[in-house]
Structure formats: structure tokens, C-alpha cells
């Protein structure tokens, strides 16, 4: 007998099955035929930022904790992968997995102050400090990271097959990103995901209903770190240059913007937010300052007029994207 925190599931409405979402990655398989090398690179970058948004949103939107260590998870994943590829010539998939796991461990570590009872702005500040501390570590652990020069990652090789072009990388990224999004989606719709939201809405009430809040918080942080760590690993493979400046406070603001503009606590929102915030700066990259203005403007407009983010628009347009947190 398991105690259950489920609300009774409403009768199935006969709505479209979630399986149709697999159409999206399948359709994307044809995308490289329409792109040149540069636009393909942007698409790959969008895939990386999709994971960044999805991972950050778990802690910010679903668990409701103001933890700003996302750039640190991203950097730790990227450095773990880059170090293994550069110094130890580890096989590609193993190096990426190591990046994910390093990110997950960092997530669990960042959860420690939460378990000490630090919340809200205090948590924001201590996690900001952690992120900046990590940047100091990247600069000073020169034996592994080569300091502020950064690491140059060798050409990725998958099972003896060199991933020379952006299109080849795209297929690898698409598979990894799809698997992680599917896993996250299932996690958030399960008992675990509902526990995250119970903690977000009222921690005391959740605890008194018998939800082991500490356990679920560690789980949420670790999974968030795992997803963002994977993003970092893919970033290292994509850009092939990992240096401390890529993980500073400004990078964190972009991550934050993706979640805000996309929609707090919405998986589809993180994806849309990543697309919007990766493409806008690329379009404006020749004009210094305008990408910051553009991102800030998007955030301000969303906060004032669309508190649910772009996800609200998606949900209004079609019921397909409405999230259900029960099995139907």
C-alpha cells in the first residue's frame, strides 16, 4: 500500500495523446537539408540552450527555489567534458556522460544550503557566490583548465567517425536533447514532479502531508544540474573552446531570461524561450549593446503583460501544449 498525494485524475477527455510529441524530433531530422553551416550552428546552439532552459526551470519554476547556480552547472559540465577529451582522450559519449554527472553532483552540492534552511534572496545570493567562486576555480586550476586561456577541445569522434560538420553534430545533439526532454517530462508528470510543485506552493503543507521535502529537493537540484551539465558538455563539443568568461554573470542572466520569457514551470516554455533568446542576439550580434537591450525588453514585457511567459500563448493557441500533471 502506497500513500498517495494524487488528486483524483479527471476522466480522460479523449485529447490527443502525448505520443504525438515524438513527431517534433522526427520532423527535425530533415532540418539540416535546408540549412547552411552557419545557420546549422545556430540551431545546434539553440539545442544546447533548450537543455539549459529545461534544467534551470526545474529548480526555478517547478521547485520554486531562487537558486542562481545555473551558469556554474553549465560550466562544470563543459569543463568536465573538455578536460576528459583534451587531457585523457576519453571516448566522446563517455565524456558527455561525465559532464552530465558532474553537473548533477554540483546540483546536489548546491542543494546543501537549501537543506540548511536558506531560501529566497539568501539562496539567490549564496548560489551567485558559488557560481563566481567556480569561475575563480576555472581560472586558477591551470593544470586542468589552462587558466583564462581556456581549453581547446579536439575534434569530436563518435565510434571512430569524426564529427567534422555542424550537421553531423546536430544529429548527435538531437538524440541527446530529445531523450532528456522526454525523461524530464515524464519525471515532472510523475509523483516526483507533483511533489516538486507541492513544495513550491507550500513547503510546510507538503511536509505535513508526508512529502519528504529534503529528499525531493536534492533530487530536483541534482536533476537540474544533470540536465544543465549535459548542456555544458554539448556546448564544449559544439564550440570546442571552453574558457572561464563563458560562464559569468551575464551568461546566467541569459539563462534566467530564457526561463522568464519562456514561462516559469513550463517545459514547452523553456524550449520556446531558448529559441527566442538564442536567435535574437545572433540577429543583432553586429550591434554591441542591442542584444542586451533586446533580452531585457523581452523580460520586462513578459513580466508586465504575460506573467506565464510565451508558454501562455502556446497554450492559448492549441490545447496540445496544456500541461497535465496526471496520467491520462
Amino acid at each position: 500500500m502506497q500513500p498517495s498525494i494524487d488528486v483524483t485524475a479527471p476522466p480522460t477527455t479523449g485529447g490527443p495523446s502525448r505520443r504525438i510529441f515524438w513527431i517534433i524530433p522526427l520532423a527535425l531530422l530533415g532540418l539540416p537539408f535546408f540549412l547552411n553551416d552557419y545557420t546549422q550552428y545556430i540551431v545546434n546552439l539553440i539545442l544546447v540552450y533548450v537543455l539549459v532552459g529545461v534544467g534551470f526551470n526545474i529548480v526555478l519554476g517547478n521547485l520554486g527555489q531562487l537558486a542562481f547556480a545555473n551558469a556554474a552547472f553549465y560550466g562544470i559540465g563543459a569543463y568536465a567534458t573538455a578536460i576528459l577529451l583534451y587531457h585523457y582522450k576519453v571516448p566522446l559519449l563517455l565524456a558527455i556522460a561525465a559532464g552530465s554527472i558532474a553537473g548533477g553532483l554540483a546540483g546536489a552540492l548546491v542543494c546543501l544550503p537549501v537543506l540548511r534552511g536558506i531560501r529566497s534572496f539568501y539562496l539567490a545570493i549564496i548560489t551567485l557566490a558559488f557560481g563566481e567562486l567556480m569561475r575563480w576555480v576555472y581560472i586558477n586550476a591551470e593544470t586542468w583548465t589552462l587558466g583564462s586561456m581556456g581549453l581547446h577541445v579536439p575534434r569530436p569522434v563518435l565510434f571512430g567517425w569524426v564529427l567534422a560538420t555542424e550537421k553531423q553534430k546536430f544529429y548527435l545533439f538531437l538524440v541527446i536533447v530529445t531523450l532528456i526532454i522526454a525523461a524530464t517530462s515524464n519525471l515532472l508528470r510523475s509523483r516526483v514532479g507533483r511533489a516538486f510543485m507541492a513544495i513550491r506552493d507550500n513547503e510546510l503543507a507538503a511536509a505535513s502531508m508526508g512529502v519528504p521535502t529534503a529528499l525531493y529537493m536534492v533530487l530536483a537540484f541534482a536533476w537540474s544540474g544533470f540536465v544543465v551539465g549535459t548542456a555544458g558538455a554539448l556546448y564544449a563539443v559544439l564550440v570546442r573552446q571552453v574558457s572561464p568568461e563563458a560562464f559569468n554573470l551575464l551568461e546566467l542572466i541569459v539563462h534566467f531570461g530564457i526561463v522568464v520569457v519562456g514561462g516559469l514551470g513550463s517545459l514547452a516554455g523553456s524550449i520556446v524561450g531558448a529559441v527566442a533568446l538564442t536567435m535574437a542576439p545572433e540577429l543583432l550580434r553586429d550591434l554591441p549593446g542591442y542584444e542586451e537591450l533586446m533580452i531585457a525588453l523581452m523580460m520586462i514585457l513578459v513580466l508586465l503583460f504575460l506573467p506565464g511567459g510565451l508558454a501562455t500563448l502556446l497554450e492559448r493557441a492549441t490545447s496540445l501544449f496544456r500541461q497535465t500533471y496526471y496520467r491520462d
Binding site: 531562487l66 544550503p113 545570493i125 549564496i126 558559488f130 542572466i253 542586451e292 531585457a296 506573467p307
Partner: protein, 289 residues
């Protein structure tokens, strides 16, 4: 050697204290932590730079203009962007503050590009000796302005009607509104004062360091460290915390390793929040479930 370090540490710490105090003013008035505060500091310095270097205005007038301009900006941000979402979650307020700061940085970049600019030498140069200690007039001016600001704040908050209003609003916004205090106007003024103090901080910091759009990030984290060390929401705490941070940075740099100067602030934040989250003079900051 030690006396010299103490003197330099205090003048450095005074700057941190000023920025931390400005954030405390906003926090006390509206319970919002302004995550964009570093950018306000940068904006203050930037306005002075534009006026002095490009328009050739005298320094004092430029500084005054910058402070007034930032005051108006602070009020406008509160009225236009913060007030409408005050009822929402903390997260949205933090995001709005970040977005405003990011916009300011973008604006500076549009004019500025990615350069690092030497700030004009607006403060008197040279040094003189007092016993074994070398003093620079600029240090004295900086420390003096900070002490003056703290004194004015103390008088305003503890001896005037505005101070009583502040106490009332901080204790209960609704209660204050019920006895006829115009909470919205009060909070707008406080945002203005916070922004004006940030501008003052920027004007005093920029001649010491260099001026560049990323000045904001390091300033913000140091102000956080000062507030955390002193205790959130405490004026005395922010002032003392800033001084202690300035001192410890110099002492750590001199006696342990200069590599550690950059992370003293981060270590202080992490250590204080893990061991004694209420800081030196703060209130209970921990949630127990």
C-alpha cells in the same frame, strides 16, 4: 605595514558600505533585493563620464546632475515596472530588477562598445604622510563622503518624520496605508534615494578602478557580501559589513595570497550564510520546515 593596510582597507570598505547601504534602503522600503543595483552604480559613473569627457562639464556639476538623474530614474523604475507587479511573487520582482539592470548595461554598451575606459582624474592626486602611513586625498574624500552619507541616512531614518514612515511601512505596508501613509509615493522616493546613492557610489568608485560595463557584477557581489556579513536589512550592518569586507580583502591579499582577494567576498557570503545566516546585526533568516 599593518597601519597602512588598515587605512587603505577602510577607504576601500567605505565604498562597499555605500553601495550596500543603498541596497538596504531599497530593501527596507520595499522588501525587494535590487539585483540590478550594480548596473545603477555603473550608470551613475557613466553619466558623469559622458558629461565630463564628452560635454566638457565641470566635475561637481556633472556629479550632481548624475545623482539627480538617477534619482528620477529610480522613481520611474519603481512607478512603471516594480509597483505593477509588487503583489506578485518575489521571483518576478527579482527578475524585473535583473532585467532593468541588464537594459542599463545594454544602453551603456550601445554608446560605449566593449572598451575599458580610464575615468578622468577628477579627485586631487598625490599623497602625503601621516606618521608611517601614506594617505591620498582621494581616499579621504571618498571616506568622508561615505561617512557624511551614513550620517545623513541615520538622521533621516531615526530623527525625522520620513524615518517614522519608513519604520511603519517596513513593519506593515497595509497598516501604514490604513493610517494614511501614501505607501506608493514613499516607496517611489526610497527607490529614488537608493538609485541616487548608487550613482554616488559609482562616481566615487570609478576613479579608483576603471570604468567598464562589467563593473556592475563585481560591485553587486561585494555589496551582497557586505549586507550578508552585517545582516540583511540592517543599516548599521551594511556599513560595518562593507568596512570589514574592505579590510579583510586587503589583509587576505597581504598576508595569505593576492589570488584570494577576488574570492574573499564569495567566501564571506558562503561562510556567513552557512554558519550564521542572520549576520552580525540581522534578523532570523532561516526557514525551518
Amino acid at each position: 605595514m599593518l597601519a597602512q593596510l588598515l587605512v587603505s582597507g577602510v577607504s576601500q570598505g567605505a565604498l562597499y558600505a555605500l553601495v550596500a547601504l543603498a541596497m538596504t534602503v531599497i530593501y527596507r522600503a520595499t522588501t525587494v533585493i535590487n539585483f540590478g543595483h550594480g548596473d545603477l552604480v555603473m550608470a551613475g559613473a557613466f553619466v558623469v563620464y559622458l558629461l565630463v569627457v564628452l560635454a566638457g562639464a565641470p566635475f561637481l556639476i556633472s556629479a550632481l546632475l548624475a545623482v539627480v538623474l538617477l534619482f528620477a530614474f529610480g522613481v520611474a523604475v519603481y512607478k512603471g515596472l516594480i509597483r505593477p507587479i509588487m503583489a506578485g511573487p518575489h521571483l518576478a520582482l527579482a527578475m524585473m530588477a535583473v532585467a532593468v539592470g541588464y537594459a542599463l548595461r545594454g544602453l551603456a554598451r550601445v554608446v560605449w562598445g566593449r572598451e575599458v575606459l580610464p575615468f578622468p582624474k577628477v579627485l586631487p592626486q598625490g599623497t602625503f604622510m601621516v606618521g608611517p602611513v601614506i594617505l591620498a586625498p582621494s581616499d579621504l574624500i571618498v571616506t568622508g563622503s561615505v561617512i557624511a552619507t551614513v550620517a545623513i541616512l541615520a538622521i533621516v531614518f531615526y530623527a525625522t518624520r520620513l524615518g517614522k514612515t519608513a519604520q511603519a511601512v517596513f513593519q506593515s505596508e497595509r497598516g501604514a496605508a490604513l493610517v494614511g501613509i501614501n505607501v506608493s509615493a514613499f516607496q517611489g522616493t526610497m527607490w529614488g534615494i537608493g538609485a541616487a546613492m548608487a550613482a554616488l557610489g559609482g562616481i566615487l568608485i570609478a576613479p579608483v578602478t576603471l570604468l567598464y560595463p562589467d563593473l556592475a557584477a563585481s560591485t553587486l557581489i561585494r555589496a551582497f557580501a557586505a549586507m550578508t556579513l552585517g545582516g540583511f536589512g540592517s543599516f548599521l550592518g551594511a556599513a560595518v559589513g562593507g568596512m570589514l569586507l574592505g579590510l579583510s580583502e586587503l589583509l587576505v591579499g597581504a598576508y595569505i595570497s593576492s589570488k584570494l582577494i577576488d574570492i574573499t567576498a564569495y567566501l564571506i557570503i558562503i561562510g556567513v550564510l552557512l554558519i550564521r545566516p542572520s549576520g552580525l546585526f540581522g534578523r532570523q533568516a532561516v526557514v525551518r520546515v
